[in-house]
Amino acid sequence: MDTQKMSHASSCHGQGSTHPMHHHAASHDHGEEGRMAAATMAKKKDDPAETSPEEEEYHSLMRKWWFAFAISIPTILVSYPNFIPGIRDILPAGSSLLWWSRVIVGLLNLVVLAYSGNQFFIGFWEGLKHRQANMHTLIAIGVSAAWIYSGVALLWPDLFPSKEMSEIYYDVTSVVTALVVLGLAMEIRARGRSSEAIKKLIGLQPKTAKVIRSGQEVEIPIEEITVGDVIIVRPGEKIALDGIVLEGSSSVDESMLTGESLPVQKEPGQEVFGGTLNKTGSFKFKVTKEQGETALANIVEMVKQAQASRIPVQKVVDQVSSIFTPTVIILAILGYILWYNFGPEPSAMYALIVAVTTLIIACPCALGMATPMSLTTGIGKGAENGILIRSGEALQVAKELNTVVLDKTGTITEGKPSLTDVVPTGGLSRNEILRIAASIEQGSEHPLAGAIVEGAKKEGISLAEVTDFNAIPGHGVEGIIDGKRVVFGNIRLLQEEGIPYEHLQELALRLSDEGKTPMFLAVQGEMVGIVAVADTVKEDSKEAIQQMKKMGLEVVMITGDNERTAQAIAKQVGIDRVFANVLPQDKAHHVHQLQSEGKKVAMVGDGINDAPALTQADVGIAIGTGTDVAIEASDITLMRGSLTGVVLAIQISRATMKNVYQNLFGAFIYNTIGIPIALGLLYPLFGILLSPLIAAAAMAFSSVTVISNANRLRKFKPKKI
């Protein structure tokens, strides 16, 4: 987590080069070759007429399965003629007809190995060249051992001490091959489904757009559109690229990016995003990002990266799989030796069954796929709901959270405060107070300042000129208006200035209790009035916070506001613990304090000024609008403004991690129980010995089970608690 955190921190300061996304982008920047490779890649992916390698592989595997299946039927008939009525009479035991039909079946099985099972041998051989064992190794050894043994038994039965031992096992060869190949084919199918979300996202971007070129409207492929081009969008059309509206207005459905179902009104000067759907009006916009650099492209890239990332719990799996295959081969040989020496008669036969079954049941495919499959699906599910989960690790940590710290402004509230009260307390009129307050705030970038300036404008008050303007962070502003020194800010500012304010405390407290932020205006060292602004609580904040509490999370509010205002808002939304009067740079410190109480903390903020706190938290959740900065600073980014996204993100994390553990449990149990049973551990007690056929079926379908379980996540629906 630490290195990742650090890279987040550095990207907040505009140096994002340590981040994997930037690495990736960089890999396309260097050299002509890289660029061309990237370009051909993009084109191939977009071409729907071309069948994907996965699709080809699926069909090829299905052909292989049908062939192996067809050969399995006569193979079973000649392997067990005594058990099949009818065949019993045609192929009596010991007849030369049976012998010859077995020879033919043996040759057919060689074709099965060469055709249906060829990938096992190729993979086996390629691995062998590098002294590596892979998943093909076990199957290749298993099925060929069965085939060779059968051949020897058929041709030189006298080599075996007893007649029973010269049995043939061609059925193992063809049925195991058939089942494993079928399992692989089903795996490809299921894999495709688990990354559906990302395919949907890629499919959002239209292929062409109508551009104005030398005064003419022409439809051209989006690869040929450059920054600065003007695109025309009509009702019902998809917006091709990111840009800024020049003329016209419309409502745009951005749900594919944000998960927000309500359309967003777009006017000139506002941003539009590629892949979103224009609903009502026509407009022209200027392209600001080329294909591959749009918000959508970034999201697709990010989701892909996250889906391929690893989670800490997987380290165990990685270690297991690195020594797994050779260990299993060694166990199989040990099993053979033990059964041969100490097993019941015919001991060579039992020894072979044990060895082959062990090899086949041990294939770690299910184990290897357990986490990646669930991650892909869970992260995809998040993307569908406008929640960008940056890494698998974020998912694992999010599941363990027990505390959520919410930034007040912009997170719980709309972040757009408005003017509520102007209270004269000295000799000046209401309008005069508003005029001075608005004038001094003109130069300030504080959101509260904007509210006052806006309020004055609404009332038609013209503003005065300010000289010697100075903003005092965390306190307020000062300056000279009409030759008089004006200070405007909070109580701390008055204290510092030594201006008496005690007689106004009660009024200020009353305003604070209403959830408003009072600011004091003093001219020439005299208090003249209080101006209050308030930020409205978002519609669904209260409900989302209730849900978080019901999920067992402690909810904490953090704000730069004074204690009373903060408490008033906290009361409105049902938060018990509040950190008020927190300067922006101290937010991270408070998060750290909670962590030192032993809590796993999520920090939710708007992603830009909360960056240090987001980085400090175990999981940083940014409420963003699809802007790069917000995405960069967080572990999880909510594309829509609402706090219900936090609830959903934690729900998705919990569901995904539960799915991961189910898969891992299934796969581990399957291998840890399967291998000892295959080795015959239960035989001395219960006389149970696994047949290689059952092992093959179990092996093939364990992968499918893991994938289907992961696919269950696709049906995940956010719960109302």
Binding site: G34, E57, Q132, L184, N341
Partner: protein, 123 residues
């Protein structure tokens, strides 16, 4: 007979352990190009070949992966230490660029960790 089976079996076990886990060859040294990149093509087919790429620290590395393996297991290569994972489209050259700063051994694997390779960074 039984002594033979036991003997051959034990011999095989020792052989297999040595074969898969014993010391391996030194690997392939990446070629230094005029542009300052250390370039190495890595074929993906049942394994990575070469599976050990030797590079110098502090200089950019460009690994050109060519996937000739249809099995979906090989579709991705993961460099855990570099926080990087790259999808390898079948039959195409995919460039992975890295800048290893510290000497050491950095493994790269497929998604399941069955295909293994390593980047050996030397001073």
């Amino acid at each position: 007979m039984s002594a033979w089976v036991t003997g051959i079996g034990l011999f095989l076990i020792v052989g297999i352990a040595w074969f898969f886990w014993g010391p391996k060859g030194s690997g392939t040294k990446a070629e230094m190009t005029a542009s300052g990149y250390q370039v190495q093509t890595v074929k993906v087919k049942g394994a990575y070949s070469p599976d050990t790429v030797i590079v110098q620290a502090g200089k950019p590395v460009r690994l050109e992966f060519i996937r000739e393996d249809r099995s979906p297991c090989s579709e991705m290569v993961i460099f855990n230490d570099f926080q990087k994972s790259v999808t390898l489209p079948y039959g195409e050259k995919t460039v992975v660029e890295l800048l290893p700063q510290k000497p050491g051994t950095y493994p790269f694997t497929c998604q399941m960790g069955m295909y293994k390779g390593k980047l050996v960074v030397k001073e």
